[in-house]
Subunit: 338 residues, 2 copies
């Protein structure tokens, strides 16, 4: 089953069920007006939504064309957005870029940061940045939406709490990160609003690509129309989603509608820190990694961070070449002065 | 005007208007079912709620007794909880306790951390902690709820966005903080669910005590029935709420219902780092500061962090001795194994 929140002038959008091909959708607001309200009562609501999805696939309900640009992020605002860093190749590279070593404990203790969740961008919204010197960068990631998770949940409980899967562009302002992390309290200004894929899908609808903890497909990240990353999200993920969820729930409960991110998808490849797509590698899901590779190779980063007018596209295709979640596609714009 | 969210079995509670004395309340769900829904449409909803408040004060609407223990936190779950550290005396003391100096830039650049907002405790809920070694501590703070704030908002726009004021106990697990901050991405497990005061009040209802940016009243923090802190929240606040809001909105918009915290209220006093209440000082709004003072005086902290069975009460009284927000009163309990 695939779900989306269509723009209707409200803060949360209106819930629709989308067909597997992402071509048609049908209203589900009589079941639950918004995705959050569906998640709040998921056990009762889900069977009704599944029935609609089944009817939609048989053209047995009124359907309208589904346009990805009409979608908000599945949860346009959420109560919890906790983003992991499960691909240690990314962590190692980004730390190296800052001249820092990755502590050995990172291999056993997941790294998660508390993100802001009140104002997500729609998947086709521009990324508005006040100053090009902020060094805007994309981070292509996988994210799951959970049901209620109790404090101290086991890995099995955490696994059972995964209700939906989607993609995210965790926009980062690299130029602001060193000073902000130096203050010791984590990210705030350096992690502006993220954008999510047009649809969120149930794990079951992912078939063999979902193993209960990881999603095994290449993440397509394009920069200005060129292939930038093709890293497989099932490869080199040191902590799977149940581990990330259990870590987040160690000292607190998590409420239905919690979003947990994987961190930037990154593959090491056979030897070392991976290779750009142009060199036959899996490439990268953010510019910072590519810059680090360039620095390692030539002493100087070559690829600039996102410039005004640059476009980023993040999408995942299944084995038959169909888009699973629709595409995040964003252009970087200068923020208007207020 | 004073507002509360009463327990009714739902996730967000039901909105009531409470009288100034916190003795009676009246249903407001025909205006807006929940506080978040009122905040989403504040300009239209507020005049209607004010009319109810006026009628309540004249006993012109059906009223029921208001019991603080029937209240959830005003926003039982919120989309954004950003907590400042505006009282630099607290920052200096807590850093000293970790053997770290406070950077000079902290006097001009506000410190804010991104908190988790999906599962706030009710004001009388126990604080469940899995392990006493986690070193649970209270942090008594002031918080404001904002309307929509645009990216890059000016100080004046930030000031105008302040809709409601309340108290918060920002529960902290001191034993987990050093390792977690050492990972570089800020708090997560070390900042479990916070609790807010039973009512949230409009700035106008605070009279002279509210100057548009700060609240000028002593914050009463009691530990096991004994006066622990009486620091005035209008004193030594290096950044006022408009400054904290503008800082939070520098690279992103903030959505209606955003909660911004002051950080632990802390007064330096005439000379140096303040004094315990027992020594005639204003005391402290968290145990960590008291322990630091003990360490400075004797080389060893004496007061333990919160033990199972300890109770914390946080309240603010106006000049006539009446409770402004009702009391946060929480007992520390061992979390049940799942």
């Amino acid at each position: 089953m695939k779900l989306a929140s269509l723009k209707d002038g409200s803060r949360d959008g209106k819930l629709v069920v989308v067909n597997d091909q992402l071509t048609y959708c049908t209203d589900a607001t009589h079941i639950a007006p918004t995705l959050q309200s569906a998640l709040d009562r998921w056990v009762r609501v889900r069977p009704k939504l599944e029935l609609i999805a089944e009817s939609l696939s048989h053209e047995a309900v009124p359907a309208t064309r589904f346009h990805e640009h009409d979608a908000l992020s599945p949860l346009p605002r959420a109560y919890q957005w906790a983003d992991g860093s499960a691909y240690l190749n990314h962590v190692e590279l980004v730390r190296k870029a800052r001249g820092a070593e990755m502590p050995e404990s990172f291999r056993t203790d997941p790294l998660i940061y508390q993100g802001g969740s009140d104002a997500f961008l729609a998947p086709r919204d521009p990324i508005a940045v006040a100053d090009a010197a902020f060094g805007a960068d994309m981070e292509g990631e996988i994210a799951v939406i959970t049901g209620d998770v109790r404090m101290g949940a086991t890995l099995e409980q955490a696994r059972d709490a995964i209700l939906l899967v989607m993609l995210v562009n965790d926009v980062s302002l690299r130029g602001l990160i060193p000073d902000e992390l130096g203050k010791g309290f984590g990210f705030f200004q350096s992690k502006p609003s993220s954008a999510f894929s047009p649809v969120a899908v149930t794990p079951e609808s992912l078939g063999d690509a979902w193993d209960g903890g990881k999603l095994h497909l290449p993440l397509h990240v394009d920069l200005n129309g060129n292939a930038f990353g093709r890293a497989n999200s099932g490869v080199d993920m040191a902590f799977d989603f149940p581990q990330l969820i259990a870590h987040a729930a160690k000292t607190r409960a998590l409420t239905a509608g919690t979003i947990i991110g994987s961190g930037t998808v990154s593959n090491r490849g056979d030897s070392g820190p991976g290779k750009p797509v142009a060199d036959g590698g899996a490439g990268y899901s953010c510019i910072a990694e590519q810059r680090m590779i360039e620095t390692l190779q030539t002493g100087t980063p070559k690829t600039p961070f996102l410039q005004f007018g640059d476009s980023v596209r993040i999408e995942m295709l299944d084995k038959t070449g169909h888009s699973v979640f629709g595409a995040i596609e964003q252009t970087v714009e200068q923020a208007v002065k207020v």
